[in-house]
């Protein structure tokens, strides 16, 4: 009965969308869609997911390429590369990146990877793709808003892309855009129009995230199929839910910080500016506080790292359970720890600000709360290991990347315990130790979760498999490369090597790292080439990959594998299936797996 209600509720939603736009795609009576309504302004969550994914991949290539360019400078500060001048023009005069270009590259690398790839590309893709399929809904609560979410992201992308081509270059004050550098056009050339475009682009991005997040929450809470109680949801859905809640509550605060920054830039206000000299002139601004911006920024900035990592956690849980043919260990503990992480995410922002002159007494509370996050994180790690423990593991690229995720999450998470202590942070703040920490725990781990998900759900997305051999090559080189790149950075950081410097060869203390820096840059190039191999695999397999012949290729229990191999808009041709059991009935009562749609039989104990 409630299934019926959901179905009809959904009908109404789709009709509502049609009312507005007339590009009808009703799942009951299929008629040919135009190219525009099917591939461009699509309201099908599966197509929007693919749009997010492919846009994310393009951004990932650009962002990674930027890191290769600035690693060239860091590894070979004295060498010249004439081809750099051909692509970057006066930003690399004589084949050597200028300091200004270096800062622009670093800033854009951070912005692109954190926001456009690991937020929009990761949770945008898989929240869109998996939420309706795994909770048993025909589409999102509002397919129209979902479409807008993608197009706001697209506009944000275009504005950011445009800032690469303005005369004074893109924003270059770091991805955190701290004032006064970001507030004063005279402070650096990267703070001129490039900074304005950065702010506009980020404002559009926030709108995109809010529209998406509203839909994810609303769909998960309102459009679940009959029998799909909250505790029968796969952990992926729980993780997308917490991610969306974090985004909806923290992105608006970032926006208010940006609005105040815009007024400081163009309205002559003094929210963040105080007693400054620029180019020998005294500025009229007084009474502002640059620290205020940091509070507003990190109130988003810290939840943002969980917005990045939670979806990866959820998807890794799912892929690990399926590929070790065992139920997930401690389902409720997994949900509980994600909930704890979501709460704590809002209470730890000032650990980014220990050296700003924050009251040490206040700092002690932030240390305590920060270290508390180790508890739910450790619970999750324990549960992943016990899930694969004595499992009948299938080593697919997806499961390898999931295991890789657990590895990098542990090694990157442990260094977080050091950084979370305000006293040790005085030495380690703004050194390569921080770079190593967050790249392993947030960058590499989130990418591994994303790769695991792409390898695992590609058959559902395109009806074809990714090439496994290339997948194995991709995994092993990326896994080894990630550690070879970031592990040595811990030593550099402990030796006090600061981040964001253009050239370390001028410092006697860091001369011992010359060869190490060369080594890191060399590995970066190899790993980047391997990622291009993955991109080739991705696009080649969309058209030429091995075809999927069965609806449930991984023998999984969840609802997305009950749809046809290439599901249309509406996902299920007939009724939405009813759910009778939790999603992790693997190796139960002598059966390899029992789908969620199979009723619990009389002689069987419900989970």
């Amino acid at each position: 009965m409630s299934n019926e209600a959901t179905l009809h509720g959904q009908h109404e939603v789709i009709h509502h969308g049609d009312d507005h736009h007339g590009n009808g795609h009703d799942h009951d009576h299929h008629h040919e869609q135009s190219f525009i309504s099917k591939y461009v302004f699509s309201m099908d969550h599966k197509m929007i997911a693919k749009q997010f994914l492919i846009t994310g991949i393009i951004w990932a290539i650009i962002g990674a390429l930027f890191s290769v360019l600035f690693r060239l400078q860091l590894g070979y500060p004295d060498a010249t590369f004439p081809w750099l001048e051909s692509i970057l023009g006066h930003w690399a005069e004589g084949g050597r990146i200028t300091p200004q270009a270096y800062y622009a590259l670093v800033t854009m690398h951070g912005t692109i990877l954190v926001f456009f790839v690991l937020t929009a590309g990761l949770s945008g893709t898989f929240s869109n793709f998996l939420i309706p399929l795994q909770v048993g809904a025909r589409d999102m609560a509002s397919p129209f808003m979902n479409m807008l979410s993608y197009w706001f992201f697209f506009m944000a992308s275009m504005v950011m892309m445009a800032s690469f081509f303005v005369q004074t270059g893109p924003a270059s004050g770091g991805w955190t855009a701290y004032p006064p550098l970001s507030a004063l056009g005279d402070a650096s050339i990267g703070s001129k129009i490039g900074m304005d475009l950065w702010l506009v682009s980020m404002a559009l991005f926030v709108v995109s995230q809010l529209l998406g997040g509203l839909n994810y929450i609303s769909t998960i809470l309102n459009l679940r199929t009959k029998g799909m109680s909250m505790t029968k949801m796969p952990l992926t859905i729980w993780s997308f839910f917490f991610t969306a809640v974090l985004g909806v509550l923290s992105f608006p605060v970032l926006l208010s910080g940006f609005i105040l920054l815009l007024f400081d830039r163009h309205g002559g206000t003094s929210f963040y500016l105080s007693e400054l000299f620029v180019k020998g002139k005294v500025l009229p601004n007084e009474g502002g506080s640059a620290i205020l911006y940091q509070h507003l920024f990190w109130f988003l900035g810290h939840p943002e790292v969980y917005i990045i990592i939670l979806p990866a956690m959820g998807m890794v849980s799912e892929v690990l359970a399926i590929n070790s043919r065992k139920p997930i260990f401690g389902y409720l503990a997994m949900v509980g720890s994600m909930f704890a992480i979501a709460i704590l995410a809002f209470l730890v922002w000032a650990h980014h600000m220990f050296v700003t002159g924050l009251n040490p007494f206040l700092g002690a509370f932030f240390v305590l709360l920060t270290l508390l996050i180790a508890v739910p994180s450790a619970i999750k790690v324990f549960n992943w290991i016990t899930t694969i423990w004595k499992g009948n593991i299938r080593f697919t690229p997806g499961s390898l990347f999931s295991i890789g995720f657990v590895s990098t999450f542990i090694s990157g998470g442990l260094t977080g315990i050091w950084l979370g202590n305000s006293s040790i942070d005085i030495h380690l703040h703004d050194t390569y130790f921080v770079i190593a920490h967050f790249h392993i725990v947030m960058g590499v781990s989130a990418f591994f979760g994303m790769f695991a998900a792409i390898y695992h759900w590609f058959p559902k997305m395109y009806g074809r498999y990714l090439n496994q051999t290339i997948g194995f090559i991709h995994f092993w080189i990326t896994m080894a490369g990630a550690y070879l790149i970031f592990w040595p950075m811990h030593y550099e950081g402990m030796a006090g090597m600061p981040r964001r410097y253009f050239d370390y060869s001028g410092w006697e203390s860091f001369k011992m790292f010359t060869e190490l820096n060369q080594f890191i840059s060399f590995v970066v190039i190899i790993v980047f080439a391997t990622q291009l191999l993955f991109v080739f695999n991705f696009f080649y397999s969309i058209f030429k990959g091995r075809k999927v012949t069965t609806t449930n290729p991984w023998q999984a229990t969840t609802l997305e594998w009950t749809t046809p191999i290439n599901p249309g808009h509406g996902n299920w041709p007939g009724e939405i299936p009813e759910v009778h059991r939790w999603p992790y009935d693997y190796s139960k009562d002598g059966k390899d797996f029992i789908p969620q749609t199979v009723p619990v039989s009389a002689d069987e104990s419900a989970h």
Partner: protein
């Protein structure tokens, strides 16, 4: 509608989404007002009286909440002409509210409190300005509803869009009351 009755105790997904959106907007204003609190506790904070016209605009927006409430009722009783009158009145009151706020800005400038003046004044311009944008968003929504009410080809009998618009309108009203109380007390 038999199918709807099964869903009776379940909130419509669009209404639910609106509630989340309102939470999100609230967070943005919490961001502004906490920035205000932080700045206020620092040196060089200059306090002043809010423009008295803000009290008139408060009366205007309260009246508009009443008119949109009546509009929803008329829509449900299918009194379409009364409904159209009432949403037009609401939209006009919304514009009037905006005009009052801008007059308030003019008053502040006359008292030597421009945007680039003391930071306490800058905050008023930004916070009230962003709130005005949210009210104008509501006015645009009402205009869309107004055009829709004249359509002959498609008739809407569902009251969900009207109720969503009304809830949003009450929300920006309440938001203003919160801001007014906050800005009056924390000077």
């Amino acid at each position: 509608m038999a199918t709807m009755s099964a869903q009776k105790n379940k909130i419509h997904p669009h209404k639910f989404s609106l509630w989340i959106a309102m939470g999100s907007i609230t967070m943005m204003f919490i961001g502004f007002t906490s920035a205000y609190v932080v700045k206020r506790s620092q040196a060089n904070w200059q306090s002043f009286e809010l423009p008295s016209i803000f009290w008139i605009s408060t009366a205007v927006i309260l009246a508009s909440s009443l008119t949109i409430h009546l509009a929803v009722r008329q829509f449900k009783q299918r009194n379409m002409s009364r409904y159209k009158q009432l949403i037009t009145l609401t939209a006009i009151l919304g514009v009037l509210f905006t005009v009052c706020q801008i007059l308030g800005f003019a008053d502040m400038m006359k008292h030597n409190l421009p945007l680039d003046g003391p930071v306490s004044a800058s905050f008023i311009y930004v916070i009230v300005g962003v709130h005005i944008l949210h009210v104008l968003g509501g006015v645009v929504t009402l205009m869309v509803m107004f055009v829709r009410a004249y359509r002959t080809r498609i008739r809407t009998y569902s009251s969900v869009p009207v109720e969503v618009a009304a809830t949003y309108w009450h929300f920006v009203d309440l938001l203003w009351i919160y801001l007014l109380v906050f800005l009056s007390l924390a000077r």
